[in-house]
């Protein structure tokens, strides 16, 4: 139940992010964190895997991978929001070392998520054929 709600929220958020990106101006979406883009792409595909992959076992595996990506990114966004609050707190003077530490924490959260994400992306390729992968990629 909780996972279902999280997933629905993720899809809504993903679609909102995609819409916001395309609404913000013209040909290219605004720059964003790699985890934000990855989250939006995975969220829009979860419910559509069965339409692309006929084999039930592989479809379940691919859906599970997208759900895992989405959970990873949701956790990452929550952690980054916490780091963001710490960075934005108007505490002055802030020493250079403190600034470096705050930046490093934010970056470590992003980088850690991306390393896990790469492993999931590679697993996704092992679970799909090139044709299925291309059809999933075409979903926006």
């Amino acid at each position: 139940m909780e996972a279902g709600i999280e997933r629905t929220l993720g899809i809504v958020l993903g679609l909102a992010l995609t819409a916001a990106a395309s609404a913000c101006g013209g040909k290219e979406p605004p720059p964003q964190l790699a985890t934000s883009g990855a989250h939006a792409r995975a969220a829009s595909r979860i419910e559509l895997v069965d339409l692309v992959i006929a084999d039930a076992a592989r479809a379940a595996r691919v859906r599970a991978l997208y759900v895992e990506i989405e959970r990873l990114m949701l956790t990452t966004k929550q952690a980054e929001a916490g780091e963001l609050r710490a960075l934005g707190a108007p505490r002055e003077p802030r020493s250079p070392d403190e600034t470096r530490t705050l930046f490093r924490r934010f970056r470590a959260t992003e980088q850690g998520a991306l390393e896990k994400y790469v492993a999931l992306q590679l697993e996704l390729r092992r679970a799909t054929t090139p044709e299925e992968f291309a059809r999933l990629d075409a979903i926006r």
């Binding site: 720059p31 964003q32 790699a34 990855a38 963001l84 960075l87 802030r94 470096r100 992306q121």
Partner: protein, 130 residues
């Protein structure tokens, strides 16, 4: 001084912010506040220069992070992409964030040196969102 703008920058990168409006507004208000509160012309010019370099540093970081994201997205769309390809995309994550931290440290220090404590307090009061 720049923490509000920094929060806004990161929010725009996470997709939670409204593009770069808050950052631009902050810099604009800070510039107006410098012109109002700093009577000494040389220090006023120097402080405005620092604000300009801050706006440039934010934009540079935004573009740099955007390049990493675009690189990852390109690989996500490529079936043949391998771990080494992703690693090449991510090689700038640490340098980009470390450079942004160093830029902000330097700019914040410069602005501190250019303003008196009273001017700084007044500018911060005027520049930060209501």
């Amino acid at each position: 001084m720049f923490w509000i703008a920094l929060s806004a920058l990161i929010m725009s990168l996470t997709g939670a912010g409204d593009d770069t409006y808050v950052i631009r507004k902050f810099i604009e208000r800070a510039r107006d506040a410098v012109n109002t509160h700093v009577k000494d012309e040389a220090r006023r010019r120097a402080a405005n220069g620092t604000l300009e370099r801050t706006a440039q540093a934010f934009e540079k970081h935004r573009q740099r992070v955007g390049k990493i994201s675009a690189c990852v997205e390109r690989l996500d769309r490529t079936y043949a992409a391998a771990r080494a390809d992703y690693e090449r995309c991510l090689v700038d994550v640490t340098p980009a964030w470390d450079a942004a931290a160093e830029d902000l440290i330097v700019l914040d220090r410069q602005l501190n040196e250019q303003l008196s404590p009273a001017e700084r307090a007044a500018i911060r009061r005027d520049a930060e969102p209501d």
